[in-house]
């Protein structure tokens, strides 16, 4: 069965249950938004999904096969963008991107998605930089980028090498409205090509047909801190 699923997931961080009994499913072309207040576990869930941390309970399945069986095969099919930018200040913008492309090029699923652009890696990198509006800055050291430009560089990463699954942790942070527009367009194109997306966000991403998981609803009862937040409309992205 194609798609990305998880059942009965639980996450424990430093002896506290962040969430438990959480299920999710994304099918090709689908999108999933994670919402919930600060500290409700959005990032934690994304890290479980990406295989950076392993769940305290439950199982994550990629195309019918548990991820834990052959993690590397899964890693090759996926992009993860976290809170931190993984940008090296001493390297130029292009070098930063080329490194990540080469790193993920290892067994990258070149034919797995229609958003595949070509096999010429340098062309891909140029195109990705152009796409996020960093092409003219390509040869500057990344140290000279502003916060939003750095975030754009991070997002260029997911455009430079194709992968069917994108896991994005608050991708819009520090972006201006124009860059957010481009991100929306990229997401739409990715999904149109059969790609899947899971994104956490505190601001509306404008993906209207996405399913939403509210992390606050999966918190264990004892935690009254966030208890009354779950039904607020401002959280955005609810269908």
């Amino acid at each position: 069965m194609d798609g990305f699923e998880g059942t009965g997931l639980a996450c424990i961080r430093s002896d506290r249950i962040v969430f438990a009994g959480l299920d999710f499913a994304v099918s090709p072309g689908g999108a999933l938004i994670l919402s919930g207040p600060n500290g409700s576990g959005k990032s934690s869930l994304l890290r479980l999904m990406a295989g950076i941390a392993s769940p305290a309970a439950g199982e994550i399945v990629w195309n019918g096969m548990p991820v834990s069986k052959d993690p590397e095969r899964f890693f090759a099919q996926m992009h993860y963008v976290g809170h931190r930018d993984a940008v090296k200040a001493a390297l130029t913008v292009r070098e930063n991107l080329a490194f990540h492309a080469a790193l993920r090029g290892g067994r990258a699923g070149r034919t797995e998605t229609k958003s595949n652009i070509g096999t010429d890696i340098n062309g891909d990198i140029d195109r990705a930089l152009d796409n996020v509006g960093l092409a003219p800055l390509a040869d500057l050291p990344a140290r000279m980028l502003s916060a939003g430009q750095t975030r754009r560089l991070t997002l260029a990463r997911i455009l430079a090498t194709p992968a069917p699954l994108w896991l994005l942790d608050e991708p819009t942070i520090a972006l201006d409205y124009r860059a957010v527009d481009r991100l929306r367009a990229a997401i739409a194109a990715h999904r149109a090509g059969g790609g899947m997306i899971v994104a956490s966000t505190n601001v509306p991403l404008g993906i209207d047909d996405a399913a939403t998981i509210d992390l606050a609803a999966h918190a264990p009862e004892v935690d009254v801190v966030w208890g009354d937040d779950s039904d607020d409309p401002d959280t955005g992205n609810s269908p």
Partner: protein, 221 residues
């Protein structure tokens, strides 16, 4: 393998961004060694006796100064998470970082050691063995140091672990490395010491990348 070379390339590039960075390891090595005459006094005999010890201690120190940053930067800026979920075995990633470290630190140290030998009036006959022992020794230090650096990421108790685990591992390198040079100076063959160093290197090649991988995965989590 793509990722392996990309990583070696990136790390050496960051280090070589300007040639002066690699030069710096050499210069540090020379300066640190030159401090000993100031402490001990300028008598050539005394210095010559201490030369092998001084050489090895300063080389180790120069290497130590560079471990600090080996994984720390990647850990802080989130690159480590991406390395952990790169589609290649994590021990290979770790090995790539170790190779890059050796290229940018171990190799310059190796090249600089004859210079320091001259300054410390080291017995001329011992240079061959010195270089050989240094080649083995710096490789072991890169491997063990990387393990230490990986272990000391994140958790608090690991620091103590680091010193309890890694530094004792490096002592044999110091002893046999300095011992090999001493042996030649004393007119003996250094085969035994070199063999032991070779053996240590093999063991480290098996254990350290694997240990690094486990430690890195833990640190990213």
């Amino acid at each position: 393998m793509n990722g392996f070379f990309a990583l070696v390339g990136r790390d050496t590039r960051i280090a070589l961004r300007q040639l002066s960075d690699t030069m710096m390891v050499i210069v540090f090595f020379v300066i640190a060694a030159a401090l000993f005459p100031f402490g001990v006094g300028p008598e050539p005999n005394l210095l010559a006796r201490m030369a092998p010890g001084i050489l090895w201690v300063t080389a180790l120190l120069a290497a130590m100064l560079s471990f600090d940053r080996l994984f720390q930067n990647d850990y802080d800026d989130g690159t480590l998470e991406l390395l952990v979920i790169a589609p290649q075995p994590l021990w290979m990633t770790a090995l790539a970082k170790i190779v890059a470290h050796w290229l940018t630190t171990g190799l310059p140290l190796l090249v600089a050691s004859p210079v320091i030998g001259i300054m410390l009036i080291l017995e001329p006959s011992s240079y061959g063995v010195l270089m050989l022992a240094m080649a083995l020794g710096t490789a072991i230090i890169s491997l063990v140091g990387a393990l230490g650096a990986a272990l000391s990421l994140g958790s608090r108790r690991s620091g103590v672990l680091l010193s309890l685990l890694v530094l004792p591992l490096v002592i044999p390198v110091l002893i046999f490395g300095a011992g090999a040079v001493d042996a030649v100076i004393g007119g003996f063959a250094a085969t035994q010491q070199l063999l032991i160093l070779g053996g240590l290197l093999m063991a480290c090649l098996v254990v350290c990348p694997w240990g690094c991988a486990v430690a890195l995965r833990l640190a990213a989590e």
